[in-house]
Amino acid sequence: MSEATPDEAAAAVARDSYGRLIAYLAARSHDIAAAEDALGDAFAAALKHWPVDGVPDAPEAWLLTTARRRLHDRWRHGQVETGAEETLRIVFSELATVAPETQFPDERLKLMFVCAHPAIDPAARSALMLQTVLGLDAARIASAFLVAPATLAQRLVRAKTKIRAAGIAFEVPREDEWPERLADVLEAIYAAYGTGWDDVAGTDPRTSGLAEEALTLAAMLARLVPDAAEAWGLVALIAFCQSRAAARRNAAGDYVPLAAQDPASWDGELLAVGEASLQKAVALGVPGAFQVEAAIQSAHTQRRLGASVPDGAIVALYDALVALQPTVGARVSRACAVGAADGAEAGLTALAALAAGDVRGYQPYWAALAHLAAAAGDAETARDARARAVGLSTDPAVRRFLAQGAEGGLRK
């Protein structure tokens, strides 16, 4: 840390510890918005003081102490909304007894369960978790959930106010309340992973490290609720996907589709985590969508063992997935699997079953159509679909790949 410039040091803490700092402050103040404001002030203070005084030995503790002081000041100067006074009084009695000088507990899961409380607007839950625990900005989350940023910002403010005003407890819920809340927590971690995954180039500072953080959170969650099969299913799914994150690009920075990837470039350690987690999940005997998706990923990696990809089995798994959650994404992926197993014509028939309105702006559909139509010898349809897919891709390497009309697998 001593070689880092003050700006770099602040950025590193923001990237590695933002969620833990917010969770710690919010678990004590019971006020997420106040915790965010205080931590924001603390980061501003760091950028002012560290260049002059040097970067402290324990930057996290410095930020936490400064943020706590800000919370205290706000309270003393009465800049606190009605309703928060009582909770803030609790905060300061607690903060006085806890001195997190270098170590402080990781309470992110606690905060996620609070965000998933049934008393919170369902449309706000996952977004709230992404913003508070993972530090994603509202614009980024809005694009992940396909809503207007202003609408989302309003929802988030309302949800935070509700948590504070309604006195929702900051604790991990009892086991009988998991079913109600676990699905939202899993969904948010998966959305975080997807947001990190989409940044294939790894150049966006707002999402760098997000995929690894999602895997860490999923693993923490599975250890906390070891009897929840879907929690292990999510660990397995993320581990399998992440094992080939680096294989998606060749040395020249070009996109490499799954079927063309060299199994030797996959991360063996993560693959082992994926297999072990999937086995744990399946042993619990409660099937779910994350487990099925993980099993599909597992089947795709059979190639590393010298076996061919079991196309028929993959179609069967997609059938199970579509039965569990008939999303457009699952159905497009199923069509690709059918194409691989039974030929391009069969894949095209499966694609044709999708409603036009559902797929108009969905890039994977057009990429799949381009691939299957080309394989079936329909060059005109393939060309048009490829043009649509290129227009809907945000990643330059994927655009390049599609524009070349390259052949190969299309799954992410």
């Binding site: 009605t82 006074e85 309604a166 006195g167």
Partner: protein, 119 residues
């Protein structure tokens, strides 16, 4: 924290109250609930209310009092009573709300009270 539990009840609940054949069972359910809440030592205040037909609603517009027969909102479920309880958090309040007899027939609204102004 203080929460108000507002007990919303369907017309059939109010009818049971007035029906000699059913009033006994109906009241016995509420009595055991009320006793349990009281015994927990969390009650700040509370009351059961007379049926909605006894309600009078008043509005002042352009300086004039407008008095109307009937409850504020014409809804299928009507307010039948309330408690103000002092418990640590929302989930504890929800647990008490779930035990009310009308949780199964109508519903219970749980609303945090504004804290008393600190001086």
């Amino acid at each position: 924290m203080e929460y108000m539990l507002l007990f919303y009840q369907p017309t059939s609940d109010f009818a049971d109250r007035a029906d000699p054949a059913k009033a006994g069972d109906y009241m016995a359910g509420w009595m055991s609930y009320v006793q349990a809440v009281q015994a927990a030592g969390i009650v700040k205040s509370g009351a059961g209310l007379q049926p909605p037909a006894t309600a009078t609603t008043l509005r002042v517009s352009e300086g004039r009092r407008r008095v109307q027969d009937g409850p504020f909102a014409d809804a299928k479920e009507q307010l039948g009573g309330f408690f103000v309880i002092d418990v640590p958090d929302l989930d504890t309040a929800l647990t008490w709300a779930a035990r009310a007899p009308c949780a199964a027939t109508g519903g219970v609204e749980v609303r945090p009270a504004l804290p008393p102004r600190a001086v």
